[in-house]
């Protein structure tokens, strides 16, 4: 570095670097990506090096310039998976690397990212259709297809309503699977379709935490074992909550089929 970086400036850069990491971690990016994008942004903006330490609910970043360190920590409560934010943040880092934007512009862009939201009714419709497709793939007929569509659309609506009121996700998954199974199990009671159990099995598949599970394994493979374990445990808790909802509903209705 030809021009020495002032302490105030280094502090500003550290804030931007940790903001990048925080946004990525909160919206479901895998750990290696969080670490490498923080380092890339820091180095692109003129820091000597950036060290990142991740844990399940917070992160610590140390930036180094001319043997002078600044360390800062942030809490990173989960905000739900949002690939739009992840790709926007990546874009900012790439632009900073290509010297297309300066520090003020990086700051402005990081703070102005608004999460994109799909129309909620469209999501309800598509998730209903998705679970119905799972039923179809498993060999269900069109009657079951329709029944699964109904059960999981209603389930998705319930899930959105509960999420909007900021309930704990574990509770949300339990209640949603309970409602979904109550509807889907009617197929078993009235013997709708060729394999009535398929409606029950497929309609709750919308609650499988697929993204956390995949992230968990890739974190562990890439050396972030603590993050991988944390994600694995949380994904398991989500599926356990779902199963408790399922069991509550099947016990209430006296339907059996899962085990």
């Amino acid at each position: 570095m030809s021009t020495p970086i002032s302490e105030e400036y280094q502090r500003e850069l550290s804030r931007l670097v940790i903001k990048t990491g925080q946004m990525l971690l909160q919206h479901g990016a895998e750990s290696q990506m969080v670490g490498s994008l923080c380092c890339r942004l820091g180095e692109a903006l003129g820091l000597d090096s950036v060290e990142v330490s991740l844990s399940a609910s917070s992160m610590v970043v140390t930036t180094l310039v001319n043997d002078y360190c600044i360390t800062t920590a942030r809490r990173c409560p989960d905000r739900g998976i949002n690939m739009h934010i992840v790709s926007e943040v990546q874009q900012v880092v790439v632009d900073a690397e290509n010297n297309a934007i300066d520090v003020a512009e990086v700051r402005k862009r990081l703070h102005s990212i608004e999460p994109y939201k799909h129309n909620r009714w469209l999501v309800v419709f598509m998730i209903g259709l998705s679970c119905a497709s799972f039923c179809r793939l498993a060999g269900g007929d069109w009657l079951l297809f329709g029944w699964t569509f109904l059960a999981s659309s209603v389930g998705m609506f319930v899930r959105q309503e509960i999420a909007q009121r900021h309930f704990n996700p574990l509770m949300n998954f339990g209640v949603t699977s309970f409602v979904t199974t109550l509807i889907a199990a009617q197929a078993e009671i009235y013997e709708i379709g060729n394999h009535p159990f398929l409606a029950m099995a497929s309609s709750v598949l919308m609650l499988v935490p697929g993204f956390p599970l995949i992230n968990s394994v890739s974190d562990m493979v890439k050396g972030y074992v603590n993050m991988g374990i944390a994600r694995w445990v949380f994904a398991s808790l989500l599926s356990l909550a779902t199963c408790i909802g399922i069991i509550a509903a099947t016990t209430l209705l006296g339907v059996w089929g899962w085990v």
Partner: protein, 155 residues
């Protein structure tokens, strides 16, 4: 001919959940088509390997996931977005949800009814099957960065 119709059916019904879950993951609309394509490709390939190739489900899943992972790298460099934007949603139709739930429900049942070898067997089999398929999915997706992009970032 029959196999082609079965394949088309399989790919079509795998593309729908790929889009549906991509929307839950807030993938921007312009990338949804890639998710659908990836989902159809992955699930269709796995179905072919399972029925025609007689492969074990884990290896078929791994091969399908690596293929989608590679295609995902190509798209990601073309469109300048992280590959996971398309590839994870594309994997969702292959996630072994029923195995995961059966394993969990078996645990709760052991608590309710007491231990029996029969329920324990259901737990062990489903847990191991589910975990290996998830590992196959995740490691398959990570293959490009494990093989080709070891020292440099993808985009």
């Amino acid at each position: 001919m029959d196999i082609l119709i079965a394949l088309a059916n399989d790919m079509f019904f795998a593309a729908i959940p790929a889009i549906g879950f991509a929307m839950v993951f807030n993938v921007p609309p312009k990338y949804l088509a890639y998710c659908a394509l990836g989902g159809a490709l992955g699930h269709g390939l796995r179905m072919l390997l399972l029925t025609q190739g007689g492969m074990q489900v884990e290896w078929a899943t791994f091969t399908a996931a690596s293929s989608v992972g590679l295609v995902g790298v190509y798209w990601s460099q073309k469109l300048n977005v992280p590959p996971k934007v398309f590839t994870v949603a594309a994997m969702i139709p292959m996630v072994p949800g029923v195995y995961v739930y059966k394993a969990m429900i078996a645990i709760v049942e052991i608590n309710h009814r007491g231990f029996s070898l029969e329920i324990w067997k259901i737990f062990a089999e489903n847990f191991i099957k589910g975990t290996s398929i998830i590992a196959a999915l995740a490691i398959g997706l990570a293959m490009p960065s494990l093989l080709f992009y070891r020292r440099k970032p993808l985009i």
